[in-house]
């Protein structure tokens, strides 16, 4: 199921990219810049964890960006209403989780295509976030909350540590628990999994729940980072998360891929954006380069897969 060679392909890609940037600009390979990249990547990387679960199970989740916005404004509003973080944080995570569970329930029990369900949720959650805040950003939080994004442990930014913890936990779930096995099994062959007595519906619902929860976690960091919860936040995050996942070698057909790959994929996106900024590349050209990298990464992946098969 896990083909190490392919994950290494992505990792080599990342290292090659770093090496090229090292040669092209003196500003890239410094501790402060690398930490900078890691910090900037954290939000996309966390959203991509959920996306990886969903894509591994053969689905797709377009609603992640809107869930980021909705959980963010719930968090921001309850903090501003004077609730402590101990109340606001679980509340906003619960909102994300519930959105995800609703997606999952509609996909599994409703029998609807994930693309359609999450497209609907994308609009519903966005609308809810706008309605809830009357379209205005909620800003200005206590420093004790903001340390979640601005704090440092030693010299390592807090978001980097949070991302590491999330990846470690998610990796454990995916690789060491039966739930994790079922994620792969459902994506590999849903019918066979069902026939072997696994409650596919229950597990699928949970998978989308994980995705919603990850979006809510990302919202916490985003809100703390910007010192503001915006109802228009997180637009197009779904595309960045899907890109990180597929660059990381996860098959859109499901059943095949790793979180390590996704992390490397997210880092490639982050390093690329950072490097292109450092090089002063025009922002239009940047979009072309990023698009090309996505296509080339998946192309290499497909070619390697074909080779492995023959």
């Amino acid at each position: 199921m896990i083909v190490p060679a392919r994950q290494f392909g992505t990792l080599i890609g990342l290292l090659a990219l770093c090496a090229i940037l090292w040669i092209l600009t003196p500003h890239f390979m410094s501790v402060s810049n690398l930490l900078n990249v890691a910090e900037q990547t954290s939000i996309n990387a966390i959203v991509a964890v959920g996306m990886t679960f969903v894509i591994l199970s053969g689905g797709i989740d377009l609603s992640v960006g809107s869930i980021v916005a909705l959980s963010g404004v719930v968090l921001g509003t309850s903090l501003q209403a004077g609730h402590s973080l101990a109340v606001a944080l679980p509340l906003s995570l619960a909102v994300g989780l519930l959105c995800g569970l609703a997606n999952g329930a509609l996909v599994s029990w409703g029998g609807l295509p994930p693309f359609i369900v999450t497209l609907g949720t994308m609009s519903i959650a966005r609308g809810a976030a706008l309605l809830f805040t009357e379209g205005r950003p909620v800003s200005g939080f206590d420093p004790s909350f903001r340390v979640l994004a601005t704090g440092r442990v030693g010299f390592i930014p807090a978001p980097v540590i949070e991302t590491t913890v999330v990846y470690a936990a998610a990796h454990f779930v995916l690789a060491r628990t039966t739930f994790g096995r079922y994620v792969y099994a459902i994506g590999g062959n849903e019918e066979a999994t069902r026939l072997s007595g696994v409650s596919v519906r229950f597990h699928k619902t949970m998978i989308y729940g994980v995705s919603g929860l990850m979006s809510a976690l990302a919202a916490v960091i985003l809100t703390a980072r910007l010192n503001s919860a915006q109802p228009i936040a997180g637009m197009m995050y779904e595309l960045d998360a899907i890109a990180a996942t597929v660059i990381g070698g996860t098959s859109l057909m499901g059943g095949d891929g790793t979180l390590a790959g996704t992390l490397v994929g997210a880092l490639i996106m982050g390093v690329l954006r950072n490097g292109l900024n450092l090089l002063g590349v025009s922002s239009f050209l940047q979009q072309i380069v990023i698009g090309a990298v996505i296509v080339v990464a998946v192309l290499i992946d497909t070619v390697l897969k074909r080779k492995n098969r023959t």
């Binding site: 190490p4 994950q7 290494f8 990792l11 080599i12 290292l15 090659a16 770093c18 090496a19 090292w22 040669i23 092209l24 600009t25 003196p26 500003h27 390979m29 410094s30 402060s32 810049n33 900078n36 910090e39 900037q40 939000i43 009357e134 379209g135 205005r136 950003p137 800003s139 200005g140 601005t150 985003l222 980072r225 910007l226 010192n227 503001s228 915006q230 228009i232 936040a233 637009m235 197009m236 790793t258 390590a260 954006r273 950072n274 900024n277 450092l278 002063g280 025009s282 922002s283 239009f284 979009q287």
Partner: protein, 319 residues
Amino acid sequence: MTWNDMKKTIALVLTAAALSASCNRGATGNAGTSKPTVALVLKTLNHPFFVDMRRGAQEAADRLGVTLQVQAAEREIDVEKQMQIVENMIQTGIQALCITPSGSREIVSALVKAKDAKVPIVVVDTRVDAKAAADAGVRPETFVGSDNYEGGKLAGEYLIRVTGGKARVGILEGIPGHETGDSRMRGFRDAVKGSPGITIVASQPANWERDQGFNVFQNMLQAHQDIDSVFACSDLMALGAIEAIAAAGKTGRIRVIGFDALDDAKKAIAAGTMEASVAQFPSEMGRAAVESAVKVIRGETVPPDIKVKLELVTKDNVK
């Protein structure tokens, strides 16, 4: 990844690092000339306003012999992306940062990083929230921009003049919570407040966008058949509204006043489909921003507020 894979990974990372270290030795020397670098971080580059601003800034940079680095997010509202750009630009060792904030409060977090890196800040076009900046200890060197409130007022006063103080107005707002749009709208509302004959029948955000201006105004027309005037907080939204008016077959019967005096808007004014637009001078802003940044780099003082002129463009003075 298994432990074995992990070991291989670590080995690979080290090898690659060693390899690239050895081939990098000679490369750091070509960091370029000693010309100071000024960064101009815009909201976006897919809007003629910012393209003009960039042009003005580039001309000033060329004249003053500084290197200008222009970066912008893909979408105007993407504060997080703008923050990343600021963080990345700081890494390149820029000497000054000129920025048009995508969010008045949100951008403060990024400006704190500039402050920590001792990079002077010139704020352009959209103000930074004064309280949020003060709380974070961020003190921009100067603000370069037009007074959006005055611009909105200019538009409101003009409407009173041409209608004789009798109108039913629909307002197209910018993104809610944005200082620029809010000020323009406040200025407009304050100007017409004293005229009892002028009623604002609807006011809805169309998020600065042309297609949303079209849709929102089409909906407004459905709900309020008697609207005879529109104030749009930007020309793109005004141009969208003009299309909606044309689609409803009401061209010429509804006055449209916009903001920005974009080329397309000037054409519409000349053609008579649009009444007026408040002209800002973005290239002037770009020029003044770079000039101020250079002054700050040279240790000269700059005024805290640099006002760029505003002008109402109507069919009488449209070029």
